[in-house]
């Protein structure tokens, strides 16, 4: 393969992208060292890299990561319970669906995280507030995708269930739920992403909890390399989280 053909290939293009990013970071390092960029506003990228082991050890990143994971876990449990339950309820009662589906759609577009001061008053400055915001932010997509999955079950499958004289509970457990599972998981994935974004955001805003609080604390201490390092850590954690949920979704989809 000629160098030109390699660069034009997918792997070549990705390598060029990665090299450009590294070059941009090196350029920032040089600009700061040359005092073109103020080092009291943007720390040296090398200092940020050096700060990573320090914040992992001294700021107990793993414990904070675990706390945020627990909050996401509780929110996902609530999402599975009320989101999937809500979707099934709307599927079961058509009139309720006709009355409420547009409301749930509007809820998905509503800026729910802005209600965090209200949640603070109701639940206090605690993990419950963070979990409840995450749950509220992720609820609408889980309900809508569950409903979509159940409503999209092929009629022939439902007829097969009827011909076997399955009860309604059996019909739901053995036919509707398995058929709707891929769509339900898409909803859970969307809900979890919304929950995760809001959980980290509220941790930062109320200065409580795991990774979000870490950024706030380091910023208030004016620990610039630490702040940038913590932001980098949250971005990496988000990327890993999205990647894992995407893989799980592919694994659960019928094509796989």
């Amino acid at each position: 393969m000629t160098p030109k053909a390699w660069i034009a290939s997918r792997g070549g293009a990705r390598s060029v992208g990665a090299l450009t990013t590294v070059a941009a970071i090196l350029a920032v390092e040089l600009l700061i060292r040359a005092r073109v960029v103020n080092p009291f506003i943007v720390p040296l990228p090398s200092q940020i890299l050096e700060s990573l082991p320090r914040i992992v050890v001294e700021e107990h990143v793993l414990a904070r990561f675990w706390q945020t994971t627990l909050e996401i876990g509780w929110a996902s449990l609530l999402l599975a319970l009320f989101g999937i339950g809500g979707g099934a309820l709307l599927y079961r009662f058509r009139l309720l669906r006709a009355a409420c589906e547009t409301w749930v759609g509007a809820l998905a577009a509503a800026p729910i995280v802005l209600m965090y001061p209200l949640f603070l008053v109701i639940f206090g400055r605690s993990a419950t507030t963070i979990v409840m915001i995450g749950f509220a932010a992720g609820l609408a997509p889980v309900i809508l995708k569950t409903l979509e999955g159940l409503a999209g079950t092929r009629a022939v499958l439902i007829d097969v269930g009827r011909s076997f004289k399955l009860t309604q509970a059996q019909q739901f457990r053995k036919i509707l739920l398995p058929a709707a599972l891929p769509s339900i998981f898409v909803g859970m994935r969307l809900g979890l992403i919304f929950a995760m974004i809001n959980i980290v955001g509220v941790e930062f805003l109320i200065n409580f909890g795991g990774l979000g609080q870490l950024i706030n604390e380091l910023a208030e201490r004016y620990d610039l390399p630490g702040t940038y390092g913590a932001i980098l850590f949250v971005i990496l954690a988000s990327i890993v989280f999205f990647d894992l949920t995407e893989r799980a979704e592919r694994w659960l989809s019928p094509q796989a």
Binding site: I7, A8, R10, A13, R14, V16, G17, T20, T21, I41, V42, L95, L96, A98, A99, C100, A106, A109, A110, P111, V113, L114, M115, Y116, P117, L118, L120, V121, I122, I193, M196, I197, N198, V200, G201, F204, L205, G212, I215, N216, A219, L224, T227, Y228, I231, V234, I235, S238, I239, F242
Partner: protein, 260 residues
């Protein structure tokens, strides 16, 4: 037959309306009962009358409109900056396969991260005034617009581009006469999503560090434990946010409907 179908539709609509009314009434009654029960701390759930009065007071208060103007201005400038940069990045990535393969993964990975975590950095770069809030809104808005525009670019029928080229159109003419009109729906959808996240980003930044704007009013009501005012602010905010979202959605839909 058509008449009976029409009657059936009318009856179904009436039943839906009845269910909706019943749900709203049940929620309002439950709320009022909770407010009167004393189960929660006093004023955490104020009576509907107190919330209604607070909405009324808010809507005749000139101070509210001054703060609304500040927030609207910040969101408007954020949308202009973030939207324009997102559109340019999206067109560039969508038009060039090599650039897309090289850099679009960065966009896709950074897109769903919680943007509020960048706020301490933005304060250092742009100060504690409106600049950091505008930057927060612009960063939030950039990603959905760019991702949507890049996807929209790839959906354009290649024939349109070839026709433009055969007429020897310049790059600027191709962008304004072919790309933008053909990408109308994805761009409007991107702006719609971008507006939503720009509103959230700007307002959250205001709640964190500000002395003006709607976010500041919300956090001030929280600090003073003025719960009816907080509910009133949130209600007005939700109506404005959902209304703006719907308005942009209609702008995107209207030409297609008209063209039919």
């Amino acid at each position: 037959m058509a008449e009976s179908t029409g009657l059936g539709l009318g009856a179904a609509r009436s039943r839906v309306l009845l269910v909706r009314t019943a749900i709203v009434a049940a929620i309002l009654v439950a709320w009022e009962a909770l407010a009167a029960s004393g189960w929660l701390f006093r004023d955490v759930v104020p009576s509907l009358g107190a919330i209604g009065a607070a909405v009324g007071r808010l809507l005749v208060n000139p101070d509210f409109y001054a703060n609304l103007g500040v927030t609207a201005g910040e969101i408007g400038v954020a949308m202009l900056i973030g939207g324009a940069c997102g559109l340019a990045a999206g067109i560039l990535l969508g038009a060039n396969r090599f650039l897309s393969q090289a850099f679009e993964s960065l966009l896709l990975y950074l897109g769903p991260t919680p943007k509020i975590i960048f706020f301490p950095v933005l304060i250092m770069w742009f100060g504690v005034g409106s600049g950091s809030k505008i930057a927060m809104g612009a960063v939030s808005c950039f990603f959905p617009v760019a991702i949507s525009a890049a996807a929209g670019m790839r959906q354009i029928d290649r024939v349109f581009i070839r026709v433009g080229r055969s007429f020897r159109a310049s790059t600027a003419q191709i962008v304004t006469k072919v790309y933008l009109p053909a990408m109308r729906t994805p761009i409007v959808n991107g702006i719609r999503l971008g507006l939503g996240v720009a509103i959230v980003g700007t307002l959250l930044a205001e709640t964190k560090l500000s002395n003006r704007g709607i976010g500041y009013l919300v956090i001030q009501a929280y600090s003073l434990f003025d719960m009816p005012r907080m509910y009133a602010l949130l209600i007005v905010l939700f109506v404005v946010a959902i209304g703006a979202n719907e308005l942009i959605g209609r702008l995107g839909r209207s030409p297609a409907a008209g063209g039919r």
